[in-house]
């Protein structure tokens, strides 16, 4: 396990460096002069020169890159042009909200998907299964930027049960969490149904039933447990999709997290903040994938030797 962990860590370092290099290159892709893009065409030459010095754009490219990478190692993501505060602090202030939303979305998707998948498998081909399959198919096809406003129309505008946007109570979290978790719920429900159907055909389930175990118990304590292994794999693989999904969901519901900060930073052309947010989301994504891989290696020893 130790060797496997080291090997996976060693593979992650060059990827992280590549991600950092890509993010560094972003500001140099800005057409024309990034300082002019941020301050506007009519900005005085002195202000432009000052901003170029502040961003380090007047130094040779290699020196800029070196300073950037050394800064990252020390946790320095630069200074926000709009707020005039460290980028790391701006992200830190919103991190909790994004984590709260992502965790709530995962919880919603699991709570919806498991019963839907189990019902589909138990009543295969019957109307319950058809309803469950249709619901999950719709969930996969509906992009979250449509699902969110639709939920808002029904539950906030028509019924008045939940607030349309903002934060402050648990009710504010419901619509964003369902919007973000919807697609994952649909995927998990389909997966649970398919694997449970396979598992119910196994001889050990038949043997349990022959021993007089009730149908419900055979499903819940025997088949379902085994069918959950691929489902847990999908949950791990989808962590990243949930993380990037927060960008759109936070924008729809004015949820003050890192995703919304990124979109606001783009509209203000606050490039240091844009770079910081993108680097932060990408690094979290890579790190989560690493952790998921390590957990699998720990759960299933066969993975370590592949």
């Amino acid at each position: 396990m130790f060797a496997y962990t080291l090997r996976r860590l060693a593979l992650t370092v060059p990827v992280l460096l590549g991600v950092a290099t890509l993010v560094f290159a972003l500001i140099h892709l800005v057409p024309g002069d990034p300082a002019e893009a941020m301050l506007g065409e009519s900005a005085p030459a002195a202000d432009l020169a000052e901003l170029r010095t502040k961003l380090g754009l007047d130094r040779p490219l290699l020196v800029q890159y070196q300073a950037y990478v050394f800064g990252l190692v020390r946790g320095n993501l630069g200074t926000s042009f709009r707020y005039n505060t460290p980028v790391a602090r701006e992200i830190g202030q919103r991190l909790g909200r994004t984590a709260q939303l992502a965790l709530a979305a995962m919880a919603v998707s699991i709570l919806v998907a498991l019963p839907l998948g189990v019902l589909g498998a138990l009543y295969r081909g019957q109307w319950v299964d058809q309803v469950a399959t249709t619901v999950s198919l719709l969930g996969v096809a509906m992009p979250n930027f449509w699902l969110g406003p639709l939920l808002a129309i029904v539950f906030a505008v028509s019924l008045g049960w939940l607030p349309v946007s903002g934060t402050g109570s648990w009710q504010h979290l419901v619509l964003p969490a369902v919007t973000l978790g919807g697609a994952l719920a649909a995927l998990l429900a389909r997966m649970t149904r398919a694997t449970l159907i396979d598992e119910l055909r196994e001889l050990y389930v038949l043997a349990a039933r022959a021993r007089g175990v009730s149908s419900a118990r055979a499903v819940i304590s025997h088949a379902l447990r085994n069918s959950l292994i691929p489902v847990v794999t999908i949950i791990g693989l989808q962590l990243g999709a949930v993380l990037t999904g927060t960008i759109i969901t936070e924008t729809i519901f004015a949820w003050p997290g890192v995703g919304r900060l990124l979109i606001q930073a783009i509209s203000f052309r606050d490039y240091p903040l844009v770079q910081g947010c993108i680097l932060f989301i990408a690094t979290t994504y890579v790190t989560m994938n690493l952790l998921v891989d390590l957990v699998y290696g720990w759960i299933d020893p066969r993975i370590r030797y592949q």
Binding site: V23, W146, N289
Partner: protein, 263 residues
């Protein structure tokens, strides 16, 4: 059922995008402010938007944008990805290692995040949306083709052609790449759905097609401010996106069932 539904949805959308604007008597960008936010009526079957523009005309204009983005992103990504993947798989060695590392970094990056980043710095426009989606799109094709070519290059007929002294370009173009077409065509069909969602996501965030041009994503974005007084602005373009995406997903699945002998 889904096997037929997919191609039917796609063909209807193409027909609507091509001949629709001719049949609808309204201009997609002409404003009629007193009529703003009006619901469906005989003269405007889908109602009017926040600037008094006919929603049906804008929906048809949006269909053209979605299909254009889908075809151009998938076309360029598949072409670039196939060539790079075939070279990596066929040549192996240093070329494969370098291409492999670049692909690792791009695959480690969440796709839509990289697209957002690129459009954020290049500026919002239809051209930059296509460029951003191609930048993240080619990797999937390259990885798929590389895997296929690793197997194909060892087959006897390829070895025989190489032994006859055929050039690298000829071996790849005439014998190796055509053998990957069925796998690429499945991925391309599913990729159309991904590109359409990608364009709509970027436009929804204000990073894609710019007004007054209509895109289904920008129409949804505009509808967000009128959830209370004009929900049809949200329902109509969202339904169009979901249907077309479903159409390409159904078609991709059906194509895979037909082309993959193991299924």
């Amino acid at each position: 059922m889904t096997r037929r539904a997919g191609p039917i949805i796609i063909l209807l959308t193409i027909a609507a995008a091509v001949i629709g604007p001719v049949l609808v008597p309204h201009d997609a960008i002409a404003q009629d402010l007193p009529m703003r936010l009006n619901g469906p009526s005989w003269s405007h079957p889908l109602g009017m938007d926040e600037l008094g523009r006919d929603l049906l005309a804008r929906l048809l204009m949006g269909a053209r944008i979605s299909l254009f983005v889908g075809v151009s992103v998938v076309g360029v990504s598949a072409l670039v990805g196939t060539i790079i993947g075939a070279l990596a798989g066929y040549l192996g060695g240093v070329a494969d290692a370098i291409i492999g590392r670049v692909m690792d970094v791009l695959l480690a990056f969440p796709g839509i995040l990289l697209a957002i980043a690129l459009v954020a710095v290049l500026g919002p426009s239809l051209r930059n949306v296509v460029l951003a989606l191609v930048t993240i799109g080619w990797v999937g094709y390259a990885r798929l083709v590389r895997g296929q070519v690793l197997k194909i290059r060892e087959l006897d007929y390829v070895q025989a052609i190489r032994a006859q002294g055929a050039s690298l370009a000829r071996v790849l173009r005439a014998h190796v790449i055509p053998a990957t077409f069925s796998a690429v065509s499945v991925q391309a069909t599913l990729g159309m759905a991904g590109a359409i969602i990608g364009e709509a996501s970027l436009s929804f965030l204000g990073l894609g097609v710019q007004p007054p041009t209509a895109s289904w994503g920008t129409m949804l974005d505009a509808g967000r401010s009128h959830l209370f007084d004009a929900p049809h602005l949200t329902i109509v373009p969202g339904l169009a996106i979901a249907l077309l995406v479903l159409g390409f997903n159904f078609t991709g699945d059906a194509l895979r069932d037909r082309l993959d002998p193991r299924l």
